[in-house]
């Protein structure tokens, strides 16, 4: 860390000394997390490593025991908090699709329109332009023909794409996505990654909680490996090494395994 100026230039969001616990059990311990501007970034780590917890804490959905989260998202590059006025409009969130009840009485278009609610503010109704944008984004994710479909009648991959479209209509600068590839077929996965790369090409920053280690190098240019603590962060080429993966996934065991099994067989 060489002073504020570097941070404000390079990072769009940072977390410092972040500790989050569920009850007594810490999930994140003294984490310094940096999101570089304009990158397509993966957060990788084993189950229970605190990946979702990390992005939920960034979004203010979880209250950390200690630490702070700052965004450098305004044009003046001054640090701001998620609670500051207008910041939430620049940040979009794609939750895990299993986090909601899809039997809710709403159509795909209804759900995508919700992405405009933050821009509208309290009480005001979506206008024609909002609906237009929602339809545009539905088309982008290949779901336009399903716009009036009840959401429980959609497949898992289609529901995921509806969530993605909902985030896209927010026209944000920074996107947090919690396992957007979970339970989707190969075709949908391809469509989603194309969209994410498109966002990056537009200068947006995308942070993705990712599960599939095989595709990290292909999809992302930046990676953070995490297991309660930050294990490593940086360019995928330099950071996504077998050694770091072992460190993240092996926990304490990795030392034992390494001591016994010195040939360092990869467990990817």
């Amino acid at each position: 860390m060489s002073g504020e100026s570097l941070k404000t230039n390079e990072y769009i969001a940072i977390a410092e000394d972040l500790t989050v616990a569920y009850g007594e059990k810490p999930v994140l311990w003294d984490v310094d997390f940096n999101v570089p501007k304009g990158k397509l970034m993966a957060i990788v780590g084993p189950n229970g490593a605190g990946k979702s917890t990390l992005i939920k804490s960034m979004l203010g959905l979880l209250k950390p025991v200690a630490g702070k989260v700052e965004f450098f998202i305004n044009s003046d590059n001054k640090p701001s908090n998620f609670k500051d006025k207008g910041i939430s409009r620049k940040i979009a969130y794609v939750p895990q699709s299993g986090s909601v009840d899809w039997d809710f009485p709403a159509t795909a278009l209804d759900v995508v329109l919700m992405g405009r609610y933050g821009h509208l503010g309290w009480i005001k109704r979506p206008k024609k332009a909002d609906k237009q944008l929602a339809l545009e984004m539905l088309e982008k994710v290949g779901m336009k023909e399903f716009q009036s479909r009840q959401i429980s009648q959609l497949s898992g991959g289609q529901q995921q794409r509806v969530f993605l479209a909902r985030a896209l209509v927010q026209q944000a600068e920074l996107y947090f996505m919690d396992e957007p590839f979970k339970g989707v077929d190969a075709k949908t996965e391809k469509a989603i990654i194309t969209l994410l790369k498109e966002l990056k090409a537009q200068g947006k920053t995308v942070v993705v909680v990712h599960h599939d280690l095989r595709t990290v190098t292909e999809y992302f240019d930046w990676v953070t490996l995490i297991n309660m603590r930050i294990i490593a962060e940086g360019e995928v080429n330099e950071t996504f090494t077998n050694e770091n993966i072992d460190k993240a996934y092996g926990r304490i065991r990795s030392d034992l395994v390494e001591a016994v099994n010195t040939d360092g067989e990869s467990r990817v």
């Binding site: 969130y93 986090s99 909601v100 009485p105 709403a106 159509t107 919700m114 609610y117 909902r166």
Partner: protein, 306 residues
């Protein structure tokens, strides 16, 4: 026939029917949110919890006018709702457990207080027990006015915060990331639910009020996938059940109105679950049979199924 007509045309019956209609309508609207948020038990919790409020209000004031008693119910209901939200927020106890806990403590206290009150000679006839099962015949024209005004305010709030309530009911965490404080919406919806319950207490009573809140929404959900249509249908079902229940209780001797209304709305639920298109049990069974038959035929004709 004349007898029946004159009974239905009775001033009291009309007031009662109007009151029941308004109550059914607003329960249907507000209860729909409990249904889609999968918090159907909230009505049960709050209404049971209102009982000690009613009795305490009487004990403290010696007054048994509806306003005083309902004010007591309101305070107890809000307190109970606050406890439930507080417990869920600040402990690891889940919503349903918190609700059961608060509800049984409040209702138990209410019953104890009620038995104390009923033992004191001068207030034996305080009529407090009508709040347990409800006694719609005790409803006055003034009560109907109050119910109508409260309902109008509640409906106005639903219209005003339509998009916020929809968003919050579907995905509260996402609502938070958009800058809408879910806690505020939760409290507002909870408060609106408490008010709905309070105005229904003397009509259907603390025990059956939860059915009044949930049943219209459950029935309406069967018929549509649109939230606004669900809420409108729910209001219609609730109001309809109110009117039919009120009239049938005035026709049949000693048929209490609250239970009569609940029986009617239960029949509506039953019918909806059975025959609604798409979501109804019968149409589901038919669809399954049809597709099974289709597979079999294809299998036989094509011979290369699987």
């Amino acid at each position: 026939m004349m007898d029946i007509l004159s009974r239905l045309n009775n001033y009291t019956t009309i007031v009662v029917a109007l009151g029941a209609a308004v109550l059914g309508m607003i329960s249907g609207v507000i209860g729909s949110y409990s249904v889609i948020r999968k918090q159907s038990l909230i009505g049960d919790g709050v209404s049971h919890s209102a009982l000690p409020g009613v009795v305490l209000a009487f004990m403290m004031t010696g007054n048994k006018s509806t306003e005083v008693l309902l004010l007591g119910a309101l305070v107890a209901g809000i307190l109970a709702a606050g406890f439930i939200i507080g417990i869920v927020k600040n402990s690891r106890i889940k919503f349903d457990s918190a609700l059961a806990l608060v509800m049984s403590v409040f209702f138990g206290t209410g019953l104890v207080l009620l038995s104390i009150v009923q033992k004191t000679p001068d207030s034996a006839q305080a009529g407090l027990s009508r709040f347990i099962f409800g006694q719609v015949s005790a409803i006055l024209k003034r009560d109907v006015y109050i119910m109508t005004i409260v309902s109008a305010v509640l409906i106005l709030l639903v219209i005003l915060f339509w998009k916020e309530f929809k968003l919050f009911s579907f995905d509260p965490e996402y609502a938070h990331t958009l800058g809408f404080k879910p806690m505020r919406l939760n409290l507002l919806l909870m408060l609106m639910t408490v008010f709905t319950i309070i105005i229904g207490l003397q009509t259907v009573g603390v025990i059956l009020m939860s059915a009044m809140l949930i049943a219209p929404g459950v029935a309406a959900r069967q018929w549509t996938d649109r939230l606004w249509l669900m809420i409108v249908l729910s209001a219609v079902f609730g109001a309809g059940a109110g009117v039919i229940g009120a009239f049938s209780s005035s026709l049949a001797e000693k048929l209490p109105t609250g239970p009569a209304i609940v029986v009617v709305i239960s029949i509506i639920v039953l019918i909806s679950i059975l025959i609604a298109p798409n979501r109804g049990l019968i149409s589901k069974a038919l669809r399954r049979r049809k597709s099974k038959k289709g597979w079999l035929e294809k299998g036989v004709k094509g011979g290369d199924i699987i």
